[in-house]
Structures are given as C-alpha cells and as structure tokens.
Amino acid sequence: MFKNNIITPLLLALTVTAHAETVFVTLEKDNALAVVDPIAGKLIKTVSIGQRPRGIAISPDNKFLYVATSDDNTIKIIAADTLKEVGKLPSGEDPETFALNPAGDMLYVSNEDDSLVTVIDIAKQKVIKQIKVGVEPEGITVSPDNRWLISASETTNMLHWIDAKTNAIVENTLVDPRPRAVSFTADSQQLWMTSEMAGTLMVIDVKTKQPIKTVSFNVTGVTADKIQPVGVVIDKERQRAYIALGPANRVAVVNAQTYEVENVLLVGSRVWNLAFSPDEKRLYTTNGVSNDMSIVDLESQTVTKSVGVGSYPWGVAVKP
C-alpha cells in the first residue's frame, strides 16, 4: 500500500526525468544477450546471440553493438535497435576482449591463445594487421586522443604501447602480475591498470610510461586472496575511478586525484566488468557467479538494486 501509493509515483517521476538508457549484458553460459532497463531495474528480454558471448562494445553513434562470441571465433555486429545480426568481423581464434578506436572505424582484438592483437577495419570487415604481443593478451584499450593502443599480457606481466597509426609496438612497461583491464583517463594523460594476482591498481603516466602510483585494497572480513581487481572505469572529470574487485564482491571507489580508496561497495558475486550510464550518474556491474548485475547510484555511492539477468554475465555496454 505504502509502496503503491507513495513510492511508485516517486519512482515514476524519476523515470520520466531520467534518460531512458538501455543496458546490454553478455551471458557467457546462456549464449545470449540480456537487455535491461536500468531505471526500472528490470530485465526486459534475453536474445540469443551466439556461442559464449563475452566482450561487448557499442559504436560511437550508438547504432551497432559488437559482441565477441568466443566459441564462434568471431565478433558479431548487431543492430542496437532491432538486435538483429548485421555482420561478422574476422576476429581470429577465441576472441574475448576487444577495443574500438574513438572514431569507431577500427577494432582491436586480444587473441589470448595466439598471443596476438588483431586489427580489424570495420567498414571493410577485414583484418589489416596482426601484432605479436606477450603471452595471453587480455586487457586492451585505445587512448581517447587515438594516439595509443594498449595491450596487457597476463603472463608476460607487461603493457605493450602500440602506435595506433603504425600498429607497431613502441614501448613496453613491466607491471604487477597478471594485468587484466586497462583504461585511459579522458585527457589521455594517465593509464589505469588492474593486476589480478597482486590485487592492485596501477596508475601509469602516459608521458614516461612508468607507474606513478600503486593502490592496494582492503575489505573488512574478506581475505586478501579474494581481492582480484578486474574492470576499471574512470569518470570524465577524473574525480573518481571504480574498480571491480572480482571474488571480493565489491566495487572499490578510488579518488582519482589523491588515489585514496574512499569506499568499497557490496555487489554480487565475482564482479567482473563495469560501465557508466551516459550521464555518469550510475554504474553498472556484471556479477559473474551470482548471475545478476548491480546498479550503483554514484551520487549517493550506494548500490540501489541487483537485477537477475541470466547465467554468467560477462560484458556490459550502455546505449543512451
């Protein structure tokens, strides 16, 4: 009664004022894509997408989704409105993570088993180069100024600085063991990287290509072995960064100016990847073991809801 009379109209009012964005989550075990309305906090539908979908990204014009269907050995191009497959990209073997350049015309794939980065021209749907990198490349990102392509090799414990124009490795940076995810600040001045095995976050200065800060995490009641940082995102103003701590079931909130851990937020089991809402007022997490995603309100720094999406949620992308 209370809920219906008072809270629902309030929520409806909020719904009207908030942007009606859509969240897409790849479901590794269900071979499907979950479509979620994050404002209502509801799963809208689940669509079959291909074998073992993992990495996902949306084109800068928000018209297409790119989904790495690992067991199909391809990256599928999906129309973001109809969710119909409109093309396939030759990704190489077992694609998992990939990155789009800011213009959205080039796509870079980590081929973990072959220690390669495959460079794909999206318009031509062709591989234009394969770059030999360290063992087990995983994290991959392109700087917002389109100067650098970064590939993180999990076993070599190295970041490879690849010139985005020549597609050649220019420099390597040795980092903490098992680097997982990499992300640039909006000004392209810093590169943030998570180390799964050391349980740390490293902030690297792009000019010197050397770490300027290493951040450790501590969660009360959780043993250090469970703190395995994976996804990392930084807001546009570089006020705060959010780091998924894997089996610690937490998202760490790090002050992006002082590098202090301000908070740890409880989310679902084995939190994996993260994405901001377009206005950066909310954060979405994929929780790999509890089969749900959590919605974090960034103003109040609270987890408002966890929404069941399907088996083994992996990647997340947001369409405005």
């Binding site: 209370f2 809920k3 008072i6 906090g41 009360t220 959780v222 409880l266 809801k305």
Partner: protein, 267 residues
C-alpha cells in the same frame, strides 16, 4: 464520565511511564546496550562479508548487520513488552495496581493506556537505537524511518499485549524468570529476527515452520519492510490479529469476576 476523564487517565498512565523512562537513565542505557551488543559483537562475528542472498524487501546484497537491525528493533520491543508485564506484576504486589483498577473507567481502557505507555517508550528506544546504527553505516531510505512509526506502534502494541496477557498469569515476581526462559528466548530465537526463513529451512523444516507462525517473526517482518518503505500485508494482518487476540485474553484475564484474578485472589 466524559472524554476528559478518559484523557486524564490516559495521560496519567502514559506520562508516568514516559517520565519514569526519561528519569531512569540506567534503564534507558540498559535498554540500548542489549541491542547494541548484538549489533556490534554478535552481528560482527556473522558479518557475511561476501553478502547475504537477496530476499525482499532488500533489492541488493546486504551485510548481516543490515539484516539483523530490524530484528533488534523487534527485540527492543519484545523486552519492553515483557518489562511492562514485569512492572504490572510488581505494581500488583505493591498495591498500586489496585488503585488503578478501582478507577471508575473501563478496565480495557486502563489496560490499553498502560499498553500505549509501554509502546511509546519502546518506539523511542527503537529510534535512538536506529540513530546509533545510522552512524554504523546501517542506513535505510529516509522515508523508511517515517513508515516505520505505524509499524512500530502496531508491533509494540502486539508484544505489549502479550506481556499483559502473561502478567495476568504470573502470580509472583519470582516467576518472571520463567517468562524469560519460556517466552522471550524461544520467541526471539525461533523467528526471522536473526536469520532469514530460507536459511532456517536449510537447517530444519520444523524450525522454519515455527518461525513462520511465530507472531514475533511477523512483527519483525512488518518492521523490516516498513524500514525500506514497503508494506507487508501478510505481516500486518498477522500482527494485528495477534494483537486483538492477546489484548482480548488479557482483558478477560484482568476481569476479577471471570479471569485469572479469581485464582490469584484465592491464593
């Protein structure tokens, strides 16, 4: 007999109880210490650092101390209800009860006034407890603290009525230990105050069933849902029904011609 007389009697009883509560600092502190020890010590040990599974009214993962807080609100009211019953027995032994009961107002009204007085005190205790819990990072939406008030009044009345009912059975103050062992502890432990129903089901179906039909569980659930701005209709009806039954039996119990008083007079 007009409404003024009723008001005077009500205010006399409620005012006396509130004044007692405010002036007896030890009582106020001890009423808070119990739930705070449970929160800071017991709940800390069972922290569930990786999060408890989601069950309504919660919409995401929570720590154990968040789960146990509404249960501790219930505990405050349960002990308060029983303490009121203890004071009734004391009043009877001391003779002040006789003064109250010879007042020319209906007996049910006097008992209800006594009940409202006890409930008012327990509601105050709960809000102070929740204010302390707020600084321990156990925070509900602000609307929840408003919805909580009617839920606390009903649960407080129900548990107070149970206390009244018990006090009509207890002959001497010494027998109150039995109330602790046979009423308070079983009611508290066999409820959803400490563990969710699904968790109890994992260990024992019997325990699950006992907890499900325990009126204290339903009072705790009513409080838990209200704290998160939600209305649990089943818990509301269950608690209200339990209150009506307990109150009716307590009024009969305090009727010298029909109730338990006959036996007591006889002893």
């Amino acid at each position: 007999m007009n409404i003024i007389h009723f008001w005077r009697a009500l205010w006399g009883i409620v005012g006396r109880e509130l004044w007692r509560f405010v002036t007896q600092r030890e009582r106020f502190i001890s009423a808070l210490v119990r739930p705070l020890v449970w929160l800071f010590v017991f709940a800390a040990g069972f922290r569930a650092a990786l999060g408890l599974a989601i069950a309504p009214p919660y919409e995401t993962y929570i720590l154990y101390e968040v789960y146990i807080t509404p249960g501790l609100c219930g505990m405050i009211q349960l002990f308060n209800g029983m303490q009121s019953s203890l004071s009734m027995v004391y009043d009877r032994e001391m003779g002040s009860m006789r003064i109250l009961l010879v007042c020319p107002l209906p007996r049910w009204f006097l008992l209800l006034s006594k009940l409202l007085a006890g409930t008012g005190v327990s509601v105050l205790q709960v809000y102070v407890f929740l204010a302390i819990a707020w600084f321990y990072d156990i925070q509900a939406p602000w609307q929840g603290y408003l919805w909580l008030l009617p839920a606390l009044i009903l649960s407080g009345l129900m548990l107070g009525a149970l206390g009244l009912l018990l006090s009509s059975f207890i002959k001497q103050l010494e027998n109150f230990a039995g109330v602790m062992n046979f009423v308070i502890f079983p009611m508290f432990f066999m409820s959803t105050a400490l563990y969710p129903l699904w968790k109890l089901k994992e260990s024992s179906v019997l325990l699950h069933n006992l907890a499900q039909y325990n009126p204290f569980s339903q009072a705790v659930e009513l409080v838990r849902f209200a704290l998160y701005g939600q209305f649990n209709q089943y818990a509301f009806i269950y608690t209200l029904t339990a209150f009506v039954i307990f109150m009716t039996v307590a009024v009969i119990g305090y009727n010298p011609s029909r109730g338990m008083m006959i036996k007591k007079v006889g002893t």
